[in-house]
């Protein structure tokens, strides 16, 4: 019998030696039991890329590759926050306009001649803090008063939209001139710096894997998933160096582009937030509250505190996303943020396998979901389709992803798990 056989009555409860021997057998076991993981989304993404490469001549180019990264960065940041909120089984409908508040705050604080002009970096820190505070207030109303998060954040949606409209009614828009802020979407690393960043990311990942191996070895815990550890490290190396290689080939009007800063920001947030979710006590408690809040409370976890902190994360990531989006157009206008931002970022997390009912999902899912949405939208745009078509296709993909997940889960229940 394969190691994936879970009936082993006579087996020791230790578990480590009973883990499926490698990533492949485990993946197969997972798929058979209805847990599809990231397989469908990766397959779907490959299909989308191939499809548009044939459909649109300008799609499969180094320049457009960089474009997709920058275009997806804002949505991805918001989606990272959405993951935490959804893990709790809550919802945050305010993030679109909280992102707007973040962008408005930096725009306001960098405004020359306003009397309160600050360095762009300081403005960014303040904007993120303001939005975290907004999240904290909304989260407190959810956690301490018990008002459903849907209602609290729907109120936030209206309130923050109102604030933005009120401030921008007269000027119509505020131009962002501060270069630090605009770098968020417009800065490209030199080819050498790009390679260096790829090397650093790969080295850090390999180091992390090494630390895990060494601790396990020191604690005499057997490591059976060598294939997974080595495989993912190699995968990270290929992905980072591949991305840099393609980006370094981008040339616009005889100007060499390179790795966009926005892409590096995505990776930094991915690493930090994944670590927070998976390897810290806080992250564990987020999953616990989302899985069974009553059990978490009885286990001594301060449930309201976890709720407030998660809404603060949601506010902070929304601010970062909003700043990147504003930097992309060098301004904050009455039409900011784009109407699709909120729903696209929630859709990104859901397409990435995060459950709306709490307790299930991963941070990286948001990145994959946002990548799919951005690729489809970019591809249709490049191929000359209208916005209407983009919305329809995005909606269909969302429906397909969730249907697939639901059907897989039903099979899982039927197979007695």
């Amino acid at each position: 019998m394969s190691a994936a056989d879970t009936l082993g009555q006579e087996r020791a409860p230790g578990g480590m030696e009973d883990e499926p021997a490698n990533l492949l057998t485990r993946t197969i076991a997972n798929i058979r039991s209805g847990n599809l993981g990231i397989v469908p989304i990766v397959v779907g993404q490959i299909f989308i890329v191939v499809f548009f490469s044939f459909k649109a001549t300008n799609f499969f180019t180094a320049v457009n590759f960089g474009n997709v990264i920058i275009q997806m960065a804002g949505t991805t940041m918001l989606a990272f926050g959405v993951v935490f909120v959804l893990l709790l089984g809550e919802i945050d409908l305010s993030i679109g306009y909280v992102a707007g508040i973040g962008a408005l705050t930096v725009a306001e604080l960098q405004l020359p001649g306003s009397g309160h002009q600050l360095n762009g970096l300081i403005a960014i820190v303040i904007a993120v803090a303001v939005c975290a505070l907004i999240g904290g207030i909304q989260g407190s109303i959810v956690a301490f008063v018990g008002v459903p998060s849907f209602v609290v954040t729907l109120a936030g949606y209206l309130i923050w939209q109102g604030v933005i409209l009120g401030r921008l009614e007269v000027p119509g828009s505020i131009i962002i001139q501060d270069r630090w802020i605009n770098y968020a979407a417009n800065y490209y690393f030199s080819p050498f710096a790009g390679w260096l960043i790829a090397a650093i990311i790969t080295a850090l990942y390999a180091l992390g894997a090494l630390v895990r191996v060494v601790t396990a070895w020191r604690k005499h815990v057997a490591i059976t998933n060598w294939f997974a550890i080595v495989g993912t490290t190699v995968g990270v190396a290929i992905a980072t160096f591949g991305t840099v290689a393609i980006c370094n080939h981008g040339v616009v009007q005889s100007r060499r582009l390179g790795l966009p800063l926005a892409g590096v920001l995505i990776v930094i947030f991915l690493i930090v937030l994944s670590f927070l979710a998976k390897r810290t006590t806080f992250g564990r408690h987020v999953y616990a509250v989302g899985g069974n809040a009553e059990a978490a409370r009885r286990a001594g976890i301060n449930v309201p505190r976890i709720r407030v902190l998660v809404f603060m994360i949601s506010g902070a990531t929304a601010a970062v996303g909003g700043i990147i989006l504003a930097a992309y157009v060098n301004s904050v206008a009455l039409t900011f943020p784009p109407g699709t931002l909120l729903l696209n970022s929630i859709a990104a997390a859901v397409i990435g396998g995060v459950s709306l009912f709490g307790g299930r999902g991963q941070v990286r899912g948001a990145l994959l979901g946002a990548l799919v949405i951005a690729t489809v939208s970019n591809g249709l745009d490049t191929a000359g389709y209208s916005n209407g078509t983009i919305y329809i296709v995005t909606g269909l993909i969302l429906l397909l992803a969730v249907t697939l997940d639901t059907v897989a889960r039903r099979l899982q229940v039927r197979s007695g798990r």
Binding site: A12, G15, D18, T280
Partner: protein, 258 residues
């Protein structure tokens, strides 16, 4: 057996408004003993457990733990003394794996970073010591476990913190025959390991399988303490329904010699 009982309740009374949930109730558990707590609905079993677990405070009467009088005013007091309750709904997070559930709220961490190998090892050790062998991987989510396995995890979670007294509320209520046997064996093992065990159950079969002694409550009052070897299901049923107080053997007042 001539030692101080692990837990002793004397003349405990608890009222909710005008309702007397417990009236002058005596109760005791010795080390290494499985004590069953039975009674009809509304007999006061749950209230008694909640007084010990710190969910309710008794109005009067005393609680003596390991020979000294204690005041249990909250669940944390109970936990500090080494009293753990496994409630009927188990309080497990389905989306977390066995290790994560065992350490829920008490994660081993350094600077907030989880120390997974340590938690994994000690979970493995605890399950081994309780001879819970049916769980193939302690890294599988609790949602994938059977009812008996989940109950085993909940019990293991309760005993791994050096607890001295474990209270099980209807541990077999939702289980099939084979799984019930599994859990009952686990309950007996807890007693053999020197813990005090209180098992609340409606199922007399389960009680006669596991308990050393049986305390019967009726309408918030003592209706007798019986030694399992010297009694019959018939007698227990009579005590539960009619409250006959015959053949009180090893009762709290004479317990030490019983």
């Amino acid at each position: 057996m001539a030692e101080t009982p692990l837990l002793q309740l004397r003349n405990v009374t608890k009222t909710f408004g005008s309702v007397e949930a417990l009236t002058d109730v005596d109760f005791e558990v010795r080390k290494g003993e499985v004590m069953a707590l039975v009674g009809d609905n509304g007999a006061g079993k749950s209230t008694l457990v909640k007084c010990v677990a710190g969910t309710h405070a008794a109005d009067s009467g005393e609680i003596v733990f390991e020979g000294s009088q204690v005041h249990i005013t909250g669940p944390k007091d109970a936990a500090r003394l080494g009293i753990e309750v496994v409630y009927q709904d188990l309080a497990l997070c389905d989306n977390l794996d066995v290790v994560q559930n065992m350490y829920l709220g008490r994660e081993v961490n350094r600077f907030q970073v989880l120390d997974e190998p340590t938690m994994e090892q000690s979970t493995s050790r605890t399950l081994k010591s309780l001879a819970v062998t049916t769980i193939s991987s302690i890294r599988q989510p609790v949602a994938t476990l059977s009812g008996g396995q989940r109950q085993s995890v909940a019990v293991a979670k309760a005993v791994q913190w050096n607890s001295k007294l474990v209270i099980l509320d209807e541990p077999t209520a939702a289980l099939g025959v084979a799984q019930t046997e599994q859990v009952l064996a686990l309950v007996r093992r807890l007693g053999e390991q020197g813990l005090g065990v209180v098992i609340i159950s409606h199922n007399l079969h389960d009680i006669f399988e596991t308990a050393d002694r049986i305390t019967v409550l009726r309408l918030g009052r003592n209706a007798g303490v019986f030694e399992r070897r010297k009694t019959s299901q018939q007698e227990i049923v009579e005590a539960i329904t009619a409250g006959t107080r015959t053949k009180v053997a090893g009762g709290p007042s004479t317990g030490a010699s019983g």
